[in-house]
Assembly symmetry: C2
Homo-oligomer: 351 residues x 2
């Protein structure tokens, strides 16, 4: 047990590197890769590794943010780091002060799908880039990210959340070693069954796209999902499904005066070699009417499950709908939402 070390299967590491070079979403050459039990575990490992032997670092993230940034920082707090809340508020309150900070930047962001950059900078401001959703099915790949610490997860790439595989791409050798020590003393290594399965999954995707990589033109995006699925073109498949869901959702909400949803811009995707999107993982819905203060409760009453804005340190006027569920669950959502909006329209017509 104690003689082994945190190990990444060479086959898996190779597939991860091939994939990033293929998609063009992250620079991996001359960088280190560390595995974790989902990116979840790597978030806390990265904070602890960046914070060690510095003055107490303030951990922040711009609202609205993925709740685990706050929850982890509070639960696992040490003498080296402490949770300090919203990055934008923090920046105003610490203007001109040379604080020691660690900022989580999730881009595109959960819950609102926005492309994000760090709010804080300065000589002692570190950033952890959570790129869980920086894949062509969720957002246009506009450049290969080249940050110091970048996190990815199988969960949002292929949907295998239960396999629990995340990876960090790290520039700095000292930080890499700290991450390895942290992980070795936490879990020794990531499940070999998981590594084996992930290797096979990535191999299938890489294999399907290997012919496309140097082609002048990618296979276009207008075809039926089943066609892409049959060829293993999983980014094409994911994109057309999510794009379709987003449009269906917007079609309904555009008729409503009661509900709004975030505005996202299409952009040129270097991977697909065409303008794509929006095709986000989540809809960040808000309630416009004065009485609808708790938007989650409003949807709940209409039989729709969502995640209230408070969880994301935002207003209760916001709530998050997941667009990543099974086909039947999504259809159920659309039916309930249509009914809710049609009630609103009927009510206006009756007045």
């Amino acid at each position: 047990m104690e003689d082994s070390s945190v190990s990444i299967s060479p086959a898996l590491e190779r597939e991860i590197r091939i994939l990033h070079n293929l998609v063009g979403n992250a620079v991996v050459d001359n960088k280190y890769i560390v595995l974790g039990v989902g990116s979840m575990q790597l978030l806390k490992a990265a904070v602890a590794s960046l914070a060690c032997d510095r003055r107490t670092a303030d951990v922040v993230a711009a609202v609205p943010y993925f709740p685990a940034y706050r929850e982890q920082s509070l639960l696992f707090e040490t003498a080296h780091f402490t949770w300090a809340g919203d990055a934008n508020v923090y920046a105003q309150e610490h203007l001109g002060m040379n604080s020691s900070t660690i900022e989580f930047v999730n881009s595109p962001n959960n819950p609102d799908g926005m492309v994000r950059h760090a709010v804080l900078n300065g000589c002692d401001a570190f950033t952890i880039y959570d790129y869980a959703y920086y894949w062509p099915h969720f957002t246009a790949i506009t450049e290969a990210a080249d940050q110091d610490v970048m996190l990815f997860t199988l969960s949002k790439l292929t949907g295998h959340a239960g396999s629990r595989l995340g990876w960090a791409i790290v520039k700095n050798y000292t930080l890499y070693e700290r991450l390895l020590t942290y992980l070795q003393l936490s879990i020794i290594t990531v499940s070999h069954e998981t590594q084996l399965r992930a290797t096979q999954l990535l191999r299938v995707i890489n294999g399907a796209y290997s012919g496309q990589l140097h082609a002048e033109q990618m296979i276009p995006l207008g075809l039926p999902p089943a066609y892409y699925a049959s060829k293993g073109l999983s980014f094409h498949y994911g994109y057309v499904v999510l794009r379709d869901r987003w449009m269906k959702l917007n079609q309904i909400l555009n008729q409503s005066k009661r509900f709004g949803v975030q505005h996202l811009e299409p952009a040129y995707c270097k991977f697909f070699k065409e303008v794509t999107g929006p095709s986000p993982a989540y809809a960040w819905v808000y309630c416009k009417q004065e009485n609808d203060e708790d938007c989650q409760a409003v949807l709940q009453q209409a039989g729709i499950i969502s995640r209230g804005g408070k969880k994301f340190d935002s207003s209760t006027r916001f709530t998050r709908l997941s667009l990543l569920k099974r086909v039947s669950t999504f259809e159920n959502l659309i039916n309930h939402l249509s009914f809710l909006v049609s009630e609103e329209i009927n009510f206006i017509l009756l007045k």
Copy 2:
């Protein structure tokens, strides 16, 4: 991702409960089971969960101890707990003081195979029982352990260390909830591939022994390992292999005046229904001669890899040999050790 919760597959939980009832090494009825990424992760989760909202707890373990107890406590230290070294030294220095402590008790103990009990007691003394080796192939099952916090791992049960599966058996509901929160915010859940594989492994063992459970007489221990292997009787198999290794090792070391090894007693095993052992996982070897201060280095020079006593917070006169390696590795060890001891005997004869 954030909508799921730390989950144990009901099928796996059932097999774990059946196994403990079958072996009789731990009381599981009316207790909670929590999974972790090996018992490694549960060690730190248990310390953090026991330490939360109490005055700073001193974490201790009696020398010689598994190095991760110290290494984890140092690396993951928070305001709630701090590493305080050898439990026996601590007990003397804090005699009559009502300290807040968390003690790791590993029984049988890595590295020396000794059956252990808590050194510290008192109203604010908590104990984490690491029962990684409390299985009939390593030690006689003398009673069903019924402690507040008991840790087990697949690694030392079936040898599937790379699958990374550990479990905690917990009496107290509040502690159970804290462990769940700790694990959910660390890893969300244990790899589903791992849980699936472990379920199947335990199902095979439980199935093989189910007929034996209520039989008047267990299948006896004197048969060849291949026989047990063919029937899936993995405890029988493990026991006869390890018992044989221990005897071979002792046969060699008994001829030596230079090297000694720990003394272990046989005992009546309620599982096998006969007197068994010793059959430990490790040999805790020591060097007797004045010049051989660094016993690991002495063995190293003879081509034998071991783990020096210092790692276990013990003297460099001690070193640990693993008896859990593959057949060819063990035979290699025995050959090197025979040669080393024969040199010593030849030297004495020449004098």
